[in-house]
Amino acid sequence: MSRRQSSQRTGSMRPVNAADARKMRSIIAEDPEWSLELVPLLTTLCLQYIIKHFEGKPILDELAANYKAYVLQRLPTSLPLTVTANLISDESFWKRCCEGRWAVCDISTYDNSWKRMFFERYLENIIEFFIPDSTDTKTVLDVVPLCRNYVKRLKVSQLLPPIKEVPRFDEDDRSDCASDTGSEGPTIDHFDFRILLDKLPNLEELSVVYGVKGCGMNFEWNLFEFTFRDCESLAKALNSCKTLQVFRIHRSKVDDEKCCMLVSQLLDHPSLHELDFSHNHIGDRGARAIGKLLNRSQLKSLVVCNNQIRGPGAQALAHALSKNTTLMSLNLRLNRIGDEGGQALAQALVKNNTLVNLHLGGNNMTEPTAVALSQALVENCTLKNLNLSNNRLGVDGGKVLEEGMSHNSSLVECDIRLTDVGQDSEYCIIQALRTNQSQASRKNQTQYDLSAKV
């Protein structure tokens, strides 16, 4: 740094010196800042040459450690990935790459690995701007060998539909999107994950949205179409990816049929432990399929919030839950399971002893569910978080719950906002929760102490 400054300074001084001959004579002789160091070293020149021709002739690992750092610090970020991807593992270089490309970079969500962040976001970008039939699949497949070792998570926030040539054709496509595979239609409706997923050996997390981001006034329904064909290809792709641990599909109009299709391919998946179907159109049949999946996989977390699951679907889920020994978290927010499903779930809670988090907010449940839940609370001793907000449990339901809480010692959080339970019972419940919390924290403290001692 200092050298650069000095060189700049000298650079700025030289012309002045050259201009003023009188000064030049006097200064050259007694320039206090002049030193031999100003002449760049041969090694520096070599390194600069290497940097300049890095694309054609990458030399890095052969260099000594300090020269390597020097080179890495100065490599341009515009180098083609084919050169850099598997050669450079230095984080600072990839940091420069990331910061050059994206304004906001939160490294903490990428295991503090800039390289991983770069490649994941790079691949996501390619997929998000992949237009079926008009973009060549080679653009994706070319990147795969470069990034296959570094990509662990893919968060695809949009998938573009094929460009429509004739508006009439669009109508056809909407009318029978699932069945038509005719010659005039596009070969695929969205990006086909089958060509990608089985080539990524480290992929653990996949989030997909079949829809377009920021369409603005160009809104058309077919931009948000998740066709049966897409579903089929996605399901097969998921089945082929055995390392996948987390799968999310949001806002993609997944209905019963598609849900069944996805679930059927995910049955007995060896590593999947989180599944998220938020903001879709899953009904009772889909819920039943998910219930089947619960006991044929290692799912630890299941999110089906904002769907259309009603009583029977919730009963199916409850039935699966009563036999399940892996699921830790279940989110059923904003469904319509009603008292029927609520009671079934409460009964399942009596038998289950693994579930820790349960979200039943906004489910149209009333007093009978509160009664069943209070019984379950007495029996169950694993549940820690329970969310019952937005259910009209009523004053009586609140009292029953209060009684149930008085016999429970495991529940740490219980959300009863907007449930009309009455202030007294709410206060009592919160008191009971407080005692449970303090107990739990004390227990944690002792455990921590013990482990520290050991």
């Binding site: 904003l334 907010g361 937005n390 906002r417």
Partner: protein
């Protein structure tokens, strides 16, 4: 927390015995003390009696930990409050959404109902219209028809109006819901804004409070650190002072010790000098004594030297003698060697001679064997001849005897019939029918028995137990034979086995048995039974012996009345030792002796005796009685004959006399002769 304990421990160590001391006992006591101290400390800790400890803990909790705890609680509360504040919006939106859904559902239901009602009513109306069409068809007059058509049209218009109304209603609803959607969107945007605002607020407040808390905690830590520092510094100073004092004390102690030791050394030095003097005097006297002893020893030595010289001379002489003796002995050895050689040559000659002799003897032996064979042949020949002659002779004498017997019987018959007047019964005479010498009774050979047994059970296996011979039944015999066949295969020659191998099993076993019997030396049926009996007895006998030791083993084997396989060989050995030796001798004799000798002498004698005893003893007695009676009768008869002669003489005399008389009478008178015949007539009476 645990700082004071090690300090206390150190103190005890310092004051008490050290672990690194050179004295072993001291080390042991030191360790014991240390363990005791530790135990005590632990106990104190458990009971919470350590006041210093407690104080420390209290102090700590009082300062930093309390602060941290407080801030932690504070932050948790802040966080939960903030979270609640933020999530309140979400909950509210959720509530609105769920409300909207219920409303929507309700509206949907109402709409569906309305539509259904509408559909039903319009269907009714439509049906009415269609019905009216048929009516219209019946109408004849155009006026009526027109009226009907008008009414139809009105009805249709009604339906259309209804439908249109419905459509407009639905469109209105759609518009309303569009409006609502827009409103919802706006509200949601507002909510999102509010959410963001609150989040930011939260973040700001949290940051602030975190900072404050951090400040406070830091302050408290600083304070704590300061107090700790001062405390520790005080402690340090105190301890360093202690240490310097102790060092001084130790130094003083050391100096005093040094002085003491110097004194001690002085004393010791004086003592040593005294001791040295005493020792020196003693040593001098000892040296004098030793010198005396040395002289004695020298004298002895000289004497011994003389003696040894003399002995050496003697030994030299002896050596010379020995040399002479040695040479003599050597000569003797040479002589002996010669003698030995002579003897060896003699021995070799002898050997040669004996070999030649042996050869000749062998030849002789062969010759004699040949002769013996010839003799045997001759003997056989002669035996055959003898047999023939014997048979002829036998036949001849038999004929003779038979003739004699005939005569005797005839005589007997005559005597019985003529003399005694009894009915004669001819005795049974078996020998009359037969002719020729008695065939020697042939014994069944052992192998025949084997075949018999084999065949028998082929044929009549089911017939069950059948007693044969001396109480050994056939089945046991058979089983014993089978056992023999299995166990004594080594007695059979391998060549035979090879030959036999392609035969049937029964025949195989037969041939094997044959071989085995010949090997053991069993030949006759009797022997077989004898052997079987012996084996049975042996088994019974042996079992008693082995019962104790083989109890476990027998439980494994099927309980059979059979001899054990392992015992068989031993049993057979015993058997052969007992029975077959004499038998062997006999057998060898038998093989050399010929058929004639095999004849049963007593039987022959009995045969002849039986012929002799054709006439039984009673009959002979009868005959002798008859003889005497006949003799008597004979004498009577002879007397009578004599008397007859006399009478004849008398008669002759009589006749003569008569003639004489007649002569007389002729001469004398006739009356007298008449009287004479009367007397005569009486006479033969």
């Amino acid at each position: 927390m645990h700082q004071p304990e090690p300090l206390a421990g150190e103190e005890t160590v310092e004051s008490g015995p050290s672990v690194e001391s050179k004295n072993q006992e001291e080390r042991i006591t030191a360790r014991r003390l240390r363990i005791a101290a530790r135990n005590e400390a632990k106990k104190r800790q458990e009971l919470g009696e350590d006041p210093q400890d407690k104080e420390d803990v209290q102090e700590e909790t009082r300062k930093s930990q309390k602060e941290v705890e407080k801030s932690k609680k504070h932050m948790a509360k802040l966080q939960s409050d903030g979270l609640e504040l933020v999530t309140n919006i979400q909950v509210a939106v959720d509530a609105r959404e769920s409300d909207r859904r219920t409303v929507l559902e309700e509206a949907c239901r109402l709409r569906r109902e309305k539509l259904e009602n509408e559909a039903k009513s319009s269907q009714e109306k439509f049906e009415e219209i269609t019905r009216k069409w048929t009516d219209a068809k019946l109408k004849q007059t155009p006026l009526d028809l027109r009226d009907a058509l008008n009414s139809q049209q009105q009805l249709c218009e009604q339906i259309l109006a209804d439908k249109n109304k419905l459509i407009s209603e639905l469109q209105q609803e759609l518009k309303a819901s569009d409006d609502r959607f827009v409103k919802d969107l706006k509200r949601q945007a507002k909510d999102v804004d509010l959410l963001i605002e609150r989040m930011e607020e939260q973040i700001a407040s949290l940051r602030k409070s975190y900072r404050e808390d951090l400040q406070q905690i830091e302050n408290s830590f600083d304070e704590e650190r300061k107090t700790l520092l001062t405390k520790h510094r005080k402690k340090w100073e105190h301890q360093s002072k202690d240490r310097s004092e102790k060092e001084l004390k130790n130094m003083m102690q050391g100096i005093s010790l040094l002085e003491e030791h110097e004194d001690l050394l002085q004393k010791l030095r004086v003592q040593r000098a005294e001791e040295y003097n005493i020792d020196k005097i003693r040593m001098d006297t000892e040296v004098q004594n030793l010198r005396k002893k040395l002289q004695d020893v020298k004298f002895n030595c000289h004497l011994n030297e003389e003696k040894l010289d003399y002995k050496y001379e003697v030994l030299k002489k002896r050596e010379d003698e020995n040399a002479i003796l040695k040479s003599q002995l050597k000569r003797k050895i040479i002589r002996m060697q010669d003698a030995l050689n002579n003897l060896k040559s003699k021995c070799a000659n002898q050997e040669k001679q004996s070999k030649a002799e042996e050869q000749s003897l062998e030849n002789e032996n062969a010759r004699i064997k040949q002769q013996y064979k010839d003799m045997q042949k001759k003997a056989r020949h002669f035996a055959a001849l003898d047999a023939e002659r014997f048979e002829k002779f036998w036949l001849m004498s038999e004929d003779e005897v038979k003739a004699l017997a005939h005569r005797v019987l005839e005589t007997d018959r005559i005597i019985h019939e003529q003399q005694l007047g009894l009915a004669w019964v001819s005795p049974s005479l078996p020998f009359m029918e037969r002719s020729g010498p008695i065939e020697p009774k042939t014994f069944n050979t052992a192998s025949q028995v084997a075949t018999d047994t084999q065949r028998e059970d082929l044929v009549q296996e089911s017939e069950g137990l059948e007693d044969i011979g001396s109480g050994v039944n056939r089945r046991t015999v058979k089983r014993i034979l089978e056992l023999l066949c299995d166990e004594l295969g080594f007695l059979v020659e391998s060549k035979l086995l090879m030959l036999v191998s392609h035969l049937e099993k029964n025949e195989q076993s037969l041939i094997k048995l044959d071989a085995i019997f010949s090997a053991i030396g069993i030949e006759s049926e009797k022997d077989v039974y004898k052997m079987a009996e012996f084996l049975m007895n042996y088994k019974q006998h042996g079992r008693k012996q082995r019962e104790l030791m083989e109890e476990e083993e027998t439980t494994n084997n099927p309980p059979s009345d059979f001899i054990h396989q392992n015992d068989l060989l031993v049993a057979l050995k015993d058997f052969t030792a007992q029975y077959c030796r004499p038998h062997d001798v006999q057998a060898s004799q038998k093989s050399s002796v010929l058929k004639l000798d095999m004849r049963d002498e007593p039987e022959d004698a009995a045969y002849w005796e039986s012929i002799v005893k054709v006439i039984p003893e009673s009959k002979l007695r009868l005959w002798s009685a008859l003889d005497t009676a006949l003799n008597k009768y004979h004498t009577v008869l002879t007397e009578r004959a004599e008397l007859l002669v006399e009478t004849q003489d008398v008669q002759q005399q009589n006749t003569e006399l008569r003639q004489l008389l007649r002569l007389y009478t002729t001469s004398k008178a006739s009356a007298v002769p008449e009287m004479q015949p009367a007397r005569m007539k009486r006479f033969p009476m």
